[in-house]
Amino acid sequence: MNENVYVPFLSKIQKVIRHTSIEYTFRMEYHGNVKPGQFFEVSMPKYGEAPISVSGIGEGYVDLTIRRVGKVTHEIFEKYEGNSLFLRGPYGNGFEVSDYAGGELVIVAGGTGVSPVRGVISHFGNHPEEHDGMTLIAGFKSDDDILFSMDFETWKKQMNVILTVDKGEPSPDRQVGLVTSFIPQLELKDVASAKAIVVGPPAMMRFSTAALLERGFREENIWISQERKMCCGLGKCGHCRINDKYVCLDGPVFPYTVGKNLLD
Protein backbone atom coordinates (compact mmCIF):
# COMPACT_ATOMS: atom_id res chain seq x y z
CA MET A 1 0.00 0.00 0.00
CA ASN A 2 1.32 3.39 -0.92
CA GLU A 3 1.28 6.24 1.48
CA ASN A 4 -1.69 8.49 0.90
CA VAL A 5 -0.14 11.88 0.33
CA TYR A 6 -3.45 13.72 0.20
CA VAL A 7 -4.46 13.14 3.80
CA PRO A 8 -3.50 16.13 5.98
CA PHE A 9 -2.33 16.00 9.58
CA LEU A 10 -3.58 18.09 12.50
CA SER A 11 -1.30 20.82 13.74
CA LYS A 12 -1.88 23.04 16.74
CA ILE A 13 -1.76 26.81 16.44
CA GLN A 14 0.90 27.78 18.98
CA LYS A 15 0.73 31.50 18.42
CA VAL A 16 -0.93 34.07 16.18
CA ILE A 17 1.16 37.14 15.34
CA ARG A 18 -0.82 40.01 13.92
CA HIS A 19 0.94 42.20 11.32
CA THR A 20 -1.89 44.03 9.61
CA SER A 21 -5.65 43.64 9.67
CA ILE A 22 -5.49 41.02 6.91
CA GLU A 23 -2.06 39.49 7.46
CA TYR A 24 -1.30 37.24 10.42
CA THR A 25 1.46 34.75 11.06
CA PHE A 26 0.24 31.44 12.41
CA ARG A 27 2.90 29.56 14.34
CA MET A 28 2.05 25.90 13.69
CA GLU A 29 3.30 22.88 15.52
CA TYR A 30 5.56 20.91 13.19
CA HIS A 31 8.37 18.41 13.70
CA GLY A 32 10.37 17.52 10.64
CA ASN A 33 12.60 18.83 7.91
CA VAL A 34 11.59 22.03 6.20
CA LYS A 35 13.35 24.81 4.30
CA PRO A 36 12.50 28.46 3.78
CA GLY A 37 10.61 28.95 0.52
CA GLN A 38 8.84 25.60 0.81
CA PHE A 39 5.09 25.62 1.34
CA PHE A 40 2.34 23.75 3.11
CA GLU A 41 -1.18 23.12 1.91
CA VAL A 42 -3.34 24.47 4.72
CA SER A 43 -6.54 22.57 4.73
CA MET A 44 -9.92 23.71 6.00
CA PRO A 45 -12.36 20.85 5.56
CA LYS A 46 -15.48 22.19 3.88
CA TYR A 47 -13.62 25.19 2.40
CA GLY A 48 -10.63 23.59 0.69
CA GLU A 49 -6.90 24.01 0.73
CA ALA A 50 -4.51 26.90 0.12
CA PRO A 51 -0.75 26.76 -0.49
CA ILE A 52 1.07 28.91 2.09
CA SER A 53 4.82 29.63 2.21
CA VAL A 54 6.88 28.87 5.26
CA SER A 55 7.89 32.23 6.72
CA GLY A 56 9.76 30.98 9.74
CA ILE A 57 11.24 27.77 11.11
CA GLY A 58 11.97 26.94 14.71
CA GLU A 59 12.21 24.09 17.17
CA GLY A 60 8.93 22.20 16.84
CA TYR A 61 7.15 24.81 14.75
CA VAL A 62 6.81 26.51 11.38
CA ASP A 63 5.44 29.98 10.78
CA LEU A 64 2.87 30.48 8.06
CA THR A 65 2.17 34.09 7.18
CA ILE A 66 -1.27 34.25 5.70
CA ARG A 67 -3.10 37.03 3.92
CA ARG A 68 -6.84 36.94 4.22
CA VAL A 69 -7.84 37.17 0.59
CA GLY A 70 -9.75 34.02 -0.27
CA LYS A 71 -12.31 31.53 0.89
CA VAL A 72 -9.89 29.27 2.73
CA THR A 73 -7.74 32.00 4.28
CA HIS A 74 -10.88 33.79 5.46
CA GLU A 75 -11.79 30.69 7.47
CA ILE A 76 -8.28 30.28 8.83
CA PHE A 77 -8.60 33.74 10.36
CA GLU A 78 -11.50 32.47 12.44
CA LYS A 79 -9.09 30.23 14.33
CA TYR A 80 -7.29 31.10 17.56
CA GLU A 81 -4.26 29.95 19.52
CA GLY A 82 -4.93 26.48 20.82
CA ASN A 83 -7.11 25.54 17.86
CA SER A 84 -5.76 23.24 15.18
CA LEU A 85 -5.45 23.35 11.43
CA PHE A 86 -4.97 20.53 8.96
CA LEU A 87 -1.69 20.70 7.03
CA ARG A 88 -0.01 18.79 4.21
CA GLY A 89 3.59 19.28 3.23
CA PRO A 90 6.15 20.69 3.13
CA TYR A 91 6.27 20.85 -0.66
CA GLY A 92 8.51 22.48 -3.24
CA ASN A 93 12.27 22.87 -3.40
CA GLY A 94 12.67 25.93 -1.15
CA PHE A 95 15.79 28.06 -0.78
CA GLU A 96 19.10 26.31 -0.26
CA VAL A 97 21.02 28.84 1.84
CA SER A 98 24.36 27.40 0.73
CA ASP A 99 23.54 28.61 -2.83
CA TYR A 100 23.84 32.20 -1.66
CA ALA A 101 26.69 31.94 0.82
CA GLY A 102 30.20 33.32 0.41
CA GLY A 103 29.70 36.57 -1.47
CA GLU A 104 27.55 39.65 -1.56
CA LEU A 105 23.82 39.06 -1.43
CA VAL A 106 20.91 41.29 -2.37
CA ILE A 107 17.34 40.25 -1.55
CA VAL A 108 14.50 42.11 -3.21
CA ALA A 109 11.09 41.26 -1.78
CA GLY A 110 7.64 42.71 -2.31
CA GLY A 111 4.67 42.41 0.07
CA THR A 112 3.97 38.86 1.21
CA GLY A 113 6.97 37.91 -0.93
CA VAL A 114 8.97 38.67 2.22
CA SER A 115 7.49 35.51 3.82
CA PRO A 116 9.27 32.86 1.78
CA VAL A 117 12.65 34.64 2.05
CA ARG A 118 12.31 35.60 5.71
CA GLY A 119 14.17 32.44 6.73
CA VAL A 120 17.00 33.24 4.32
CA ILE A 121 17.26 36.84 5.53
CA SER A 122 17.38 35.74 9.17
CA HIS A 123 19.91 33.02 8.43
CA PHE A 124 22.41 35.41 6.88
CA GLY A 125 21.56 38.07 9.43
CA ASN A 126 22.56 35.67 12.19
CA HIS A 127 25.58 34.34 10.29
CA PRO A 128 27.46 37.41 9.01
CA GLU A 129 30.51 35.20 8.44
CA GLU A 130 28.63 33.45 5.64
CA HIS A 131 28.34 36.52 3.42
CA ASP A 132 30.43 39.44 2.30
CA GLY A 133 27.81 42.18 2.52
CA MET A 134 24.07 41.95 2.42
CA THR A 135 21.29 44.27 1.31
CA LEU A 136 17.57 43.75 1.77
CA ILE A 137 15.20 45.82 -0.33
CA ALA A 138 11.67 45.23 0.93
CA GLY A 139 8.67 47.02 -0.51
CA PHE A 140 5.10 47.26 0.71
CA LYS A 141 2.10 49.14 -0.64
CA SER A 142 1.76 51.48 2.33
CA ASP A 143 2.71 51.77 5.99
CA ASP A 144 -0.36 49.76 6.93
CA ASP A 145 0.85 46.84 4.83
CA ILE A 146 4.28 46.42 6.37
CA LEU A 147 4.89 42.86 7.58
CA PHE A 148 7.44 41.63 10.11
CA SER A 149 8.13 45.11 11.50
CA MET A 150 9.83 43.54 14.54
CA ASP A 151 12.16 41.61 12.25
CA PHE A 152 13.07 44.75 10.36
CA GLU A 153 14.34 46.31 13.58
CA THR A 154 16.67 43.33 14.02
CA TRP A 155 17.65 43.17 10.36
CA LYS A 156 18.53 46.89 10.30
CA LYS A 157 21.30 46.11 12.80
CA GLN A 158 22.55 43.15 10.81
CA MET A 159 22.52 44.32 7.19
CA ASN A 160 21.81 47.18 4.85
CA VAL A 161 18.00 47.41 4.86
CA ILE A 162 16.01 49.50 2.44
CA LEU A 163 12.44 49.38 3.66
CA THR A 164 10.14 51.20 1.29
CA VAL A 165 6.46 51.84 0.64
CA ASP A 166 4.93 52.52 -2.76
CA LYS A 167 2.93 55.44 -1.40
CA GLY A 168 3.27 57.46 1.77
CA GLU A 169 4.55 60.63 3.42
CA PRO A 170 8.31 60.94 3.89
CA SER A 171 9.51 59.37 7.14
CA PRO A 172 12.90 58.66 8.68
CA ASP A 173 11.94 55.00 9.25
CA ARG A 174 11.54 54.04 5.66
CA GLN A 175 11.80 55.17 2.07
CA VAL A 176 9.08 55.95 -0.45
CA GLY A 177 9.26 54.43 -3.91
CA LEU A 178 9.14 51.15 -5.77
CA VAL A 179 11.78 48.55 -4.92
CA THR A 180 13.15 48.80 -8.45
CA SER A 181 14.11 52.45 -7.95
CA PHE A 182 16.73 51.46 -5.34
CA ILE A 183 18.49 48.88 -7.49
CA PRO A 184 20.53 51.23 -9.76
CA GLN A 185 22.32 52.88 -6.78
CA LEU A 186 23.12 49.59 -5.03
CA GLU A 187 26.64 49.79 -3.70
CA LEU A 188 28.49 46.56 -4.35
CA LYS A 189 32.11 45.51 -4.19
CA ASP A 190 31.86 43.16 -7.13
CA VAL A 191 28.59 43.08 -9.00
CA ALA A 192 29.79 40.28 -11.28
CA SER A 193 29.90 37.82 -8.39
CA ALA A 194 27.05 39.27 -6.27
CA LYS A 195 23.95 37.12 -5.87
CA ALA A 196 20.33 38.20 -5.73
CA ILE A 197 16.98 36.73 -4.76
CA VAL A 198 13.77 38.31 -6.04
CA VAL A 199 10.37 37.40 -4.62
CA GLY A 200 7.07 39.16 -5.06
CA PRO A 201 4.18 39.77 -7.43
CA PRO A 202 4.86 38.90 -11.11
CA ALA A 203 5.31 42.47 -12.36
CA MET A 204 7.56 43.38 -9.44
CA MET A 205 9.77 40.35 -10.14
CA ARG A 206 9.93 41.14 -13.85
CA PHE A 207 11.02 44.75 -13.34
CA SER A 208 13.33 43.94 -10.45
CA THR A 209 15.23 41.26 -12.33
CA ALA A 210 15.49 43.60 -15.31
CA ALA A 211 16.92 46.30 -13.03
CA LEU A 212 19.39 43.86 -11.47
CA LEU A 213 20.62 42.76 -14.89
CA GLU A 214 20.92 46.39 -15.87
CA ARG A 215 22.94 47.01 -12.69
CA GLY A 216 25.36 44.32 -13.86
CA PHE A 217 24.21 41.19 -12.05
CA ARG A 218 24.84 37.97 -13.94
CA GLU A 219 21.82 35.90 -14.91
CA GLU A 220 23.20 32.82 -13.19
CA ASN A 221 23.47 34.74 -9.90
CA ILE A 222 19.76 35.58 -9.68
CA TRP A 223 16.99 33.43 -8.19
CA ILE A 224 13.25 34.00 -8.22
CA SER A 225 10.33 32.35 -6.50
CA GLN A 226 7.06 31.80 -8.36
CA GLU A 227 3.56 31.67 -6.98
CA ARG A 228 0.58 29.77 -8.33
CA LYS A 229 -2.60 28.29 -6.94
CA MET A 230 -1.42 24.76 -6.32
CA CYS A 231 -4.29 22.39 -5.69
CA CYS A 232 -2.20 19.37 -4.83
CA GLY A 233 1.45 20.35 -4.32
CA LEU A 234 2.32 16.93 -5.71
CA GLY A 235 2.77 17.53 -9.44
CA LYS A 236 -0.62 16.11 -10.38
CA CYS A 237 -3.38 18.70 -10.51
CA GLY A 238 -1.73 20.72 -13.26
CA HIS A 239 -2.73 24.20 -12.11
CA CYS A 240 0.82 25.38 -11.44
CA ARG A 241 2.42 24.08 -14.62
CA ILE A 242 4.38 26.57 -16.70
CA ASN A 243 5.84 25.02 -19.86
CA ASP A 244 7.48 21.75 -18.76
CA LYS A 245 7.91 22.85 -15.13
CA TYR A 246 5.63 22.40 -12.18
CA VAL A 247 5.99 25.23 -9.67
CA CYS A 248 5.16 22.79 -6.85
CA LEU A 249 7.81 20.22 -7.84
CA ASP A 250 10.51 22.07 -9.77
CA GLY A 251 9.99 25.33 -7.85
CA PRO A 252 8.78 27.53 -6.38
CA VAL A 253 12.41 28.70 -6.33
CA PHE A 254 13.97 28.84 -9.78
CA PRO A 255 17.37 30.04 -10.93
CA TYR A 256 16.71 33.02 -13.18
CA THR A 257 18.27 31.16 -16.10
CA VAL A 258 15.36 28.71 -15.87
CA GLY A 259 12.76 31.12 -14.55
CA LYS A 260 13.18 33.63 -17.36
CA ASN A 261 11.83 31.06 -19.80
CA LEU A 262 8.78 30.30 -17.71
CA LEU A 263 6.36 32.59 -19.40
CA ASP A 264 2.67 32.47 -18.79
Partner: protein, 338 residues
Amino acid sequence: MGYCFTEDGMMSVWSELEKRYDIYAPKRFAGKGRFSDTDCVRYGQVHSATEIVFDKKAEYSAKEFLLPNAETLFYFTEDQILESACKEKEMLVFLRSCDLHAIKRLDAVYLEQGFIDSYYKRLRDKVKFVLMGCPKAFDTCFCVDMGTNKSTDYDMSIDKVNDKYYMDCKIEEWTELFAQSAERVQDVQPAYVTETKTHVNLPVQMPNTMLQSDLWREYDGRCIACGRCNFVCPTCTCFTMQDMYYTENGKAGERRRVWASCMVDGYADVAGGGTYRKKHGERMRYKVLHKVWDFQKKHGYPMCVGCGRCDDICPEYISFSHCVNGLKKACKEVMENE
Protein backbone atom coordinates in the same frame (compact mmCIF):
# COMPACT_ATOMS: atom_id res chain seq x y z
CA MET B 1 -1.77 -17.17 -27.89
CA GLY B 2 -4.71 -16.28 -30.17
CA TYR B 3 -8.20 -17.65 -30.40
CA CYS B 4 -11.16 -17.46 -32.76
CA PHE B 5 -14.62 -17.42 -31.19
CA THR B 6 -18.15 -17.76 -32.48
CA GLU B 7 -20.79 -15.64 -30.72
CA ASP B 8 -21.70 -18.60 -28.52
CA GLY B 9 -18.10 -19.29 -27.59
CA MET B 10 -17.65 -15.63 -26.80
CA MET B 11 -20.71 -15.75 -24.54
CA SER B 12 -19.31 -18.54 -22.43
CA VAL B 13 -15.95 -16.80 -22.05
CA TRP B 14 -17.76 -13.59 -21.21
CA SER B 15 -19.81 -15.08 -18.40
CA GLU B 16 -16.62 -16.38 -16.77
CA LEU B 17 -14.78 -13.08 -17.17
CA GLU B 18 -17.72 -11.20 -15.71
CA LYS B 19 -17.45 -13.16 -12.49
CA ARG B 20 -14.04 -11.68 -12.04
CA TYR B 21 -14.28 -8.27 -13.70
CA ASP B 22 -16.60 -5.39 -14.27
CA ILE B 23 -16.30 -5.05 -18.02
CA TYR B 24 -16.33 -1.62 -19.64
CA ALA B 25 -16.36 -0.85 -23.34
CA PRO B 26 -17.69 1.72 -25.81
CA LYS B 27 -21.43 1.13 -26.13
CA ARG B 28 -24.42 2.78 -27.70
CA PHE B 29 -26.68 4.98 -25.60
CA ALA B 30 -29.89 5.21 -27.62
CA GLY B 31 -31.38 8.67 -27.87
CA LYS B 32 -28.62 10.21 -25.76
CA GLY B 33 -26.80 11.95 -28.58
CA ARG B 34 -26.10 15.67 -28.64
CA PHE B 35 -28.81 16.24 -31.25
CA SER B 36 -32.42 15.09 -31.02
CA ASP B 37 -33.11 11.48 -31.98
CA THR B 38 -29.45 10.59 -32.20
CA ASP B 39 -27.50 8.02 -30.25
CA CYS B 40 -24.11 8.45 -28.72
CA VAL B 41 -21.26 6.06 -28.12
CA ARG B 42 -19.61 6.34 -24.76
CA TYR B 43 -18.08 4.07 -22.18
CA GLY B 44 -20.37 1.96 -20.05
CA GLN B 45 -20.57 -1.43 -18.43
CA VAL B 46 -21.26 -4.16 -20.98
CA HIS B 47 -22.64 -7.60 -20.29
CA SER B 48 -22.00 -9.20 -23.66
CA ALA B 49 -19.58 -8.70 -26.51
CA THR B 50 -22.49 -7.88 -28.81
CA GLU B 51 -23.02 -4.65 -26.85
CA ILE B 52 -19.58 -3.36 -27.78
CA VAL B 53 -19.52 -0.78 -30.54
CA PHE B 54 -16.55 -1.48 -32.78
CA ASP B 55 -17.22 0.85 -35.69
CA LYS B 56 -17.54 4.18 -33.88
CA LYS B 57 -15.18 6.18 -31.71
CA ALA B 58 -16.30 6.61 -28.10
CA GLU B 59 -16.94 10.30 -27.45
CA TYR B 60 -15.12 10.08 -24.13
CA SER B 61 -11.99 8.07 -23.47
CA ALA B 62 -11.33 5.24 -21.06
CA LYS B 63 -9.51 7.51 -18.60
CA GLU B 64 -12.58 7.74 -16.36
CA PHE B 65 -11.86 4.29 -14.94
CA LEU B 66 -8.54 5.46 -13.58
CA LEU B 67 -9.47 9.09 -13.00
CA PRO B 68 -13.17 9.32 -12.22
CA ASN B 69 -14.60 12.75 -13.09
CA ALA B 70 -15.36 13.22 -9.39
CA GLU B 71 -13.42 11.07 -6.95
CA THR B 72 -13.86 11.17 -3.19
CA LEU B 73 -10.47 11.28 -1.49
CA PHE B 74 -11.62 11.18 2.10
CA TYR B 75 -14.45 11.95 4.46
CA PHE B 76 -14.09 14.33 7.38
CA THR B 77 -15.91 14.94 10.62
CA GLU B 78 -14.35 17.52 12.92
CA ASP B 79 -10.86 16.20 13.66
CA GLN B 80 -11.28 12.81 12.00
CA ILE B 81 -10.33 11.92 8.45
CA LEU B 82 -11.37 8.66 6.85
CA GLU B 83 -9.90 7.60 3.53
CA SER B 84 -12.46 6.63 0.90
CA ALA B 85 -12.80 2.97 0.00
CA CYS B 86 -11.69 1.67 -3.37
CA LYS B 87 -13.91 -0.16 -5.82
CA GLU B 88 -13.50 -3.83 -4.97
CA LYS B 89 -14.00 -5.64 -8.24
CA GLU B 90 -11.32 -5.73 -10.89
CA MET B 91 -12.01 -4.06 -14.20
CA LEU B 92 -11.57 -5.12 -17.79
CA VAL B 93 -11.48 -2.09 -20.07
CA PHE B 94 -11.78 -2.27 -23.85
CA LEU B 95 -9.93 0.45 -25.73
CA ARG B 96 -8.18 1.30 -28.96
CA SER B 97 -4.45 1.66 -29.42
CA CYS B 98 -4.48 5.46 -29.07
CA ASP B 99 -6.26 5.19 -25.72
CA LEU B 100 -3.89 2.52 -24.49
CA HIS B 101 -0.99 4.82 -25.32
CA ALA B 102 -2.84 7.51 -23.37
CA ILE B 103 -2.72 5.29 -20.27
CA LYS B 104 1.06 5.46 -20.49
CA ARG B 105 0.76 9.27 -20.28
CA LEU B 106 -1.53 9.03 -17.25
CA ASP B 107 0.98 6.70 -15.60
CA ALA B 108 3.75 9.20 -16.31
CA VAL B 109 1.89 11.97 -14.49
CA TYR B 110 0.36 9.98 -11.65
CA LEU B 111 3.04 7.40 -10.91
CA GLU B 112 6.33 8.72 -12.23
CA GLN B 113 6.50 12.48 -11.88
CA GLY B 114 6.89 13.60 -8.28
CA PHE B 115 4.86 11.66 -5.76
CA ILE B 116 3.01 8.40 -6.35
CA ASP B 117 -0.72 9.05 -6.35
CA SER B 118 -2.26 6.35 -4.18
CA TYR B 119 -5.79 6.93 -5.48
CA TYR B 120 -4.69 6.46 -9.06
CA LYS B 121 -2.50 3.52 -8.16
CA ARG B 122 -5.22 1.60 -6.36
CA LEU B 123 -7.48 1.78 -9.42
CA ARG B 124 -4.65 1.21 -11.87
CA ASP B 125 -3.78 -2.05 -10.11
CA LYS B 126 -7.31 -3.29 -10.67
CA VAL B 127 -7.50 -2.67 -14.40
CA LYS B 128 -6.68 -5.02 -17.26
CA PHE B 129 -6.77 -3.69 -20.79
CA VAL B 130 -8.28 -5.29 -23.87
CA LEU B 131 -6.95 -3.70 -27.03
CA MET B 132 -9.66 -3.28 -29.66
CA GLY B 133 -8.28 -3.86 -33.12
CA CYS B 134 -8.70 -0.66 -35.11
CA PRO B 135 -8.51 -1.37 -38.84
CA LYS B 136 -9.51 2.04 -40.17
CA ALA B 137 -8.96 5.54 -38.88
CA PHE B 138 -11.82 7.97 -38.38
CA ASP B 139 -11.74 11.34 -40.13
CA THR B 140 -10.14 13.35 -37.32
CA CYS B 141 -7.65 10.69 -36.17
CA PHE B 142 -3.90 11.15 -36.63
CA CYS B 143 -2.48 8.30 -34.56
CA VAL B 144 0.05 7.22 -37.18
CA ASP B 145 1.78 10.61 -37.04
CA MET B 146 1.83 10.45 -33.24
CA GLY B 147 3.22 6.91 -33.26
CA THR B 148 0.29 5.57 -31.25
CA ASN B 149 -1.42 3.49 -33.93
CA LYS B 150 0.09 0.22 -32.77
CA SER B 151 0.20 -1.37 -29.31
CA THR B 152 1.74 -4.51 -27.98
CA ASP B 153 1.40 -3.57 -24.34
CA TYR B 154 -2.08 -5.07 -23.81
CA ASP B 155 -3.45 -7.84 -21.59
CA MET B 156 -5.87 -9.11 -24.22
CA SER B 157 -6.87 -8.01 -27.69
CA ILE B 158 -10.10 -8.33 -29.62
CA ASP B 159 -11.04 -7.94 -33.29
CA LYS B 160 -14.52 -8.52 -34.67
CA VAL B 161 -14.63 -9.66 -38.27
CA ASN B 162 -18.06 -10.52 -39.61
CA ASP B 163 -19.57 -12.63 -36.82
CA LYS B 164 -16.32 -13.94 -35.45
CA TYR B 165 -14.24 -12.59 -32.60
CA TYR B 166 -10.47 -12.91 -32.73
CA MET B 167 -8.73 -12.54 -29.40
CA ASP B 168 -5.21 -12.63 -28.09
CA CYS B 169 -4.73 -13.30 -24.39
CA LYS B 170 -1.57 -12.64 -22.42
CA ILE B 171 -3.09 -13.42 -19.03
CA GLU B 172 -2.05 -16.95 -18.30
CA GLU B 173 -4.87 -17.87 -15.98
CA TRP B 174 -7.43 -17.47 -18.77
CA THR B 175 -5.69 -19.50 -21.45
CA GLU B 176 -7.45 -22.70 -20.48
CA LEU B 177 -10.86 -21.05 -20.51
CA PHE B 178 -10.13 -19.40 -23.85
CA ALA B 179 -8.89 -22.63 -25.39
CA GLN B 180 -11.98 -24.56 -24.24
CA SER B 181 -14.45 -22.05 -25.60
CA ALA B 182 -12.68 -21.11 -28.80
CA GLU B 183 -13.66 -22.44 -32.19
CA ARG B 184 -9.98 -22.76 -32.93
CA VAL B 185 -6.62 -21.68 -31.63
CA GLN B 186 -4.65 -19.56 -34.08
CA ASP B 187 -2.25 -16.67 -34.30
CA VAL B 188 -4.00 -13.35 -33.86
CA GLN B 189 -2.64 -9.91 -34.69
CA PRO B 190 -4.87 -7.04 -33.61
CA ALA B 191 -5.62 -4.79 -36.57
CA TYR B 192 -4.06 -1.34 -36.56
CA VAL B 193 -4.34 1.81 -38.58
CA THR B 194 -1.62 2.45 -41.14
CA GLU B 195 -2.99 5.51 -42.88
CA THR B 196 -4.96 8.51 -41.63
CA LYS B 197 -6.79 11.20 -43.53
CA THR B 198 -5.64 13.87 -41.08
CA HIS B 199 -1.95 14.51 -40.66
CA VAL B 200 0.07 16.56 -38.20
CA ASN B 201 3.43 18.13 -38.58
CA LEU B 202 5.00 18.40 -35.14
CA PRO B 203 7.14 21.42 -34.28
CA VAL B 204 10.88 20.87 -33.92
CA GLN B 205 11.67 24.07 -32.03
CA MET B 206 9.72 26.35 -29.76
CA PRO B 207 10.99 29.90 -29.26
CA ASN B 208 9.70 31.75 -26.20
CA THR B 209 8.34 34.40 -28.48
CA MET B 210 5.64 31.93 -29.62
CA LEU B 211 3.66 33.49 -26.78
CA GLN B 212 3.20 36.56 -28.91
CA SER B 213 2.41 34.71 -32.11
CA ASP B 214 -0.68 35.83 -34.04
CA LEU B 215 -1.57 32.17 -34.39
CA TRP B 216 -3.32 32.26 -31.01
CA ARG B 217 -5.33 35.39 -31.67
CA GLU B 218 -7.74 33.48 -33.90
CA TYR B 219 -8.86 31.49 -30.87
CA ASP B 220 -9.48 34.54 -28.67
CA GLY B 221 -12.81 34.91 -30.38
CA ARG B 222 -13.58 31.46 -31.71
CA CYS B 223 -13.01 29.47 -28.54
CA ILE B 224 -15.82 29.79 -26.01
CA ALA B 225 -13.77 28.23 -23.17
CA CYS B 226 -16.23 25.41 -22.60
CA GLY B 227 -13.50 22.88 -21.81
CA ARG B 228 -15.04 19.98 -23.72
CA CYS B 229 -11.73 19.35 -25.49
CA ASN B 230 -10.10 18.71 -22.11
CA PHE B 231 -12.83 16.45 -20.81
CA VAL B 232 -12.86 14.17 -23.86
CA CYS B 233 -9.07 14.11 -24.07
CA PRO B 234 -7.62 10.76 -22.99
CA THR B 235 -4.45 12.47 -21.77
CA CYS B 236 -5.84 15.46 -19.87
CA THR B 237 -5.13 14.77 -16.21
CA CYS B 238 -5.81 18.02 -14.34
CA PHE B 239 -8.11 18.23 -11.36
CA THR B 240 -9.32 20.67 -8.76
CA MET B 241 -10.02 19.92 -5.11
CA GLN B 242 -13.59 20.35 -4.01
CA ASP B 243 -14.94 20.13 -0.49
CA MET B 244 -18.57 19.43 0.20
CA TYR B 245 -20.47 18.84 3.38
CA TYR B 246 -23.64 17.04 4.20
CA THR B 247 -25.06 18.44 7.36
CA GLU B 248 -26.62 21.67 8.56
CA ASN B 249 -23.81 22.31 11.00
CA GLY B 250 -21.27 21.70 8.27
CA LYS B 251 -19.06 19.41 10.32
CA ALA B 252 -19.23 16.30 8.18
CA GLY B 253 -18.34 16.13 4.55
CA GLU B 254 -15.90 14.93 1.98
CA ARG B 255 -13.03 16.15 -0.12
CA ARG B 256 -13.15 15.21 -3.75
CA ARG B 257 -11.10 15.90 -6.78
CA VAL B 258 -12.97 16.76 -9.94
CA TRP B 259 -11.75 17.09 -13.51
CA ALA B 260 -10.40 20.53 -14.28
CA SER B 261 -9.94 22.24 -17.62
CA CYS B 262 -7.20 24.70 -18.50
CA MET B 263 -9.59 26.19 -21.07
CA VAL B 264 -12.26 27.11 -18.53
CA ASP B 265 -12.40 30.32 -16.44
CA GLY B 266 -10.92 29.95 -12.98
CA TYR B 267 -8.27 27.37 -13.79
CA ALA B 268 -5.36 29.76 -13.33
CA ASP B 269 -6.88 31.97 -10.62
CA VAL B 270 -4.67 32.83 -7.69
CA ALA B 271 -5.67 34.18 -4.28
CA GLY B 272 -6.50 37.83 -4.21
CA GLY B 273 -8.22 37.98 -7.58
CA GLY B 274 -5.31 37.52 -9.97
CA THR B 275 -5.37 35.14 -12.88
CA TYR B 276 -3.18 33.99 -15.72
CA ARG B 277 -4.20 33.49 -19.36
CA LYS B 278 -7.37 35.55 -19.50
CA LYS B 279 -7.60 35.34 -23.28
CA HIS B 280 -8.95 32.11 -24.73
CA GLY B 281 -6.17 32.10 -27.30
CA GLU B 282 -3.63 32.04 -24.47
CA ARG B 283 -5.39 29.01 -23.03
CA MET B 284 -5.33 27.35 -26.43
CA ARG B 285 -1.58 27.99 -26.56
CA TYR B 286 -1.13 26.54 -23.05
CA LYS B 287 -3.05 23.39 -23.96
CA VAL B 288 -1.68 22.83 -27.45
CA LEU B 289 1.95 23.36 -26.47
CA HIS B 290 1.58 21.01 -23.51
CA LYS B 291 0.22 18.30 -25.78
CA VAL B 292 2.89 18.53 -28.46
CA TRP B 293 5.87 20.20 -26.79
CA ASP B 294 6.12 20.71 -23.02
CA PHE B 295 5.18 17.18 -21.97
CA GLN B 296 7.65 15.78 -24.49
CA LYS B 297 10.40 17.94 -23.04
CA LYS B 298 9.80 16.34 -19.66
CA HIS B 299 8.99 12.76 -20.62
CA GLY B 300 10.51 12.22 -24.04
CA TYR B 301 7.35 11.64 -26.06
CA PRO B 302 4.40 13.86 -26.94
CA MET B 303 1.34 13.87 -24.71
CA CYS B 304 -1.20 13.94 -27.54
CA VAL B 305 -2.05 10.49 -28.89
CA GLY B 306 -3.91 11.70 -31.97
CA CYS B 307 -7.37 10.36 -31.15
CA GLY B 308 -9.04 13.46 -32.58
CA ARG B 309 -11.76 13.59 -29.94
CA CYS B 310 -11.16 17.29 -29.23
CA ASP B 311 -11.94 18.07 -32.86
CA ASP B 312 -15.03 15.86 -32.80
CA ILE B 313 -16.49 17.52 -29.71
CA CYS B 314 -15.70 21.21 -30.24
CA PRO B 315 -18.90 23.23 -30.64
CA GLU B 316 -16.95 25.90 -32.51
CA TYR B 317 -15.36 23.47 -34.98
CA ILE B 318 -11.87 24.34 -33.77
CA SER B 319 -9.39 21.77 -35.01
CA PHE B 320 -6.46 20.85 -32.79
CA SER B 321 -4.58 19.18 -35.64
CA HIS B 322 -5.03 22.27 -37.79
CA CYS B 323 -3.58 24.39 -35.01
CA VAL B 324 -0.61 22.03 -34.55
CA ASN B 325 0.04 22.22 -38.26
CA GLY B 326 0.25 25.99 -38.01
CA LEU B 327 2.99 25.86 -35.36
CA LYS B 328 5.99 25.43 -37.64
CA LYS B 329 5.08 28.40 -39.78
CA ALA B 330 4.23 30.51 -36.75
CA CYS B 331 7.57 29.62 -35.09
CA LYS B 332 9.39 30.69 -38.21
CA GLU B 333 7.47 33.95 -38.33
CA VAL B 334 8.16 34.94 -34.74
CA MET B 335 11.83 34.05 -35.11
CA GLU B 336 12.16 36.19 -38.21
CA ASN B 337 10.53 39.11 -36.40
CA GLU B 338 12.95 38.96 -33.49
